[in-house]
Subunit: 187 residues, 2 copies
Amino acid sequence: MTAEQQVRKRDAAATKASLLDAAAELFAERGFDRTTVRDIAKRAGANQSLLFRYFGTKEALFEEVVARSGLEKLAATPPEQLLSTILRSMLDTDRKDHSLAVFLRSAEHDSAAGAIRRQLGEAYSQALTTLTDSPDAELRADLALAWLLGIGLLREIGGKEPLTNAATEDIVELVLAGTRTLLERGE
Amino acid sequence: MTAEQQVRKRDAAATKASLLDAAAELFAERGFDRTTVRDIAKRAGANQSLLFRYFGTKEALFEEVVARSGLEKLAATPPEQLLSTILRSMLDTDRKDHSLAVFLRSAEHDSAAGAIRRQLGEAYSQALTTLTDSPDAELRADLALAWLLGIGLLREIGGKEPLTNAATEDIVELVLAGTRTLLERGE
DNA sequence: TCCGTTTGTAAGCAACTGCTTACAACGCTA
DNA sequence: TAGCGTTGTAAGCAGTTGCTTACAAACGGA
């Protein structure tokens, strides 16, 4: 609608990328079901049939979004800072990583459930497992992970006060104290 | 499909009730968006137009389900047993109270977000607030509540192992230890 | 320059959605 | 028994959805 109406140059890679970006945003904002392929194409400034040419189905696009929004940050984080890193990234309101929001918003979608299991399950909680030497380390790690997810759920979707507007540092401090009990208390 | 095909006697109250029951089950299983009014009517053994006669819209039906699946249990629980009661009821696999599952499965639905804020927000976390005397009691209560929700999310929807198949008592013990740190540690 | 492939566009289709309407069967009251 | 409001049924409507098809425009190698 501006004067600078670009003619959209022939660039498949760029088109594909902007479809992925738009999809990541919209899935994070509205979840899988409430995001339509027309919405995605419109935000990406692309024709919706290209979406199917490049990704096949809406479901496949969703999985590419999930696969892309990923684990790089995790791999680069030393385990002992992992909890606070994940927590801070979840509390950061103007973040660019939509992966968690996609999970939460798409909780009713089976594919999202599978993704949550794979991504968070394998990588995140395996890393968390190294933080404790208890025999039930993995269970404790799952519980820690559940806490982080629950905070995101209550904040972003529930909009619960005072949690939503609490200072990041206050939350981090309280949660880390709790997880210290959970993880480091031996057996 | 059985021989005992009931003629469905004229009983508006019973019809309305079975629509509510069917809706509660389906919303809990699939979430709001993935549950169709035809599904609900079919499971209730009723004609779908009755659904609109009795409830007006699908959205209004959803809110009646949420309103009904409620807070009775909470009101009857002394605060000091509240955490373990909520936690146990969430871990109980063959429970009849669908309220939590409805919330989790319908997280992307605005009305569900509002409900989560109202129901859990007001009642649950107010009760939890009485468990600590810290100045930031409400924030701590929110965090405790978030933990319980996150466990439900990871268990039911994520299907995360070993959390999904862990013994209830083990989880209760670990979580209560963590929340003790969170809630009872004064300031 | 010619031609085949790649990229982008426009239109439409079949299925499904929430919701409405027109009507039949029942049961109560007069 | 006649009349009437209540309960249940069947069919359909308009909008939306994921996805497909038919075609035009741009590119690159010959």
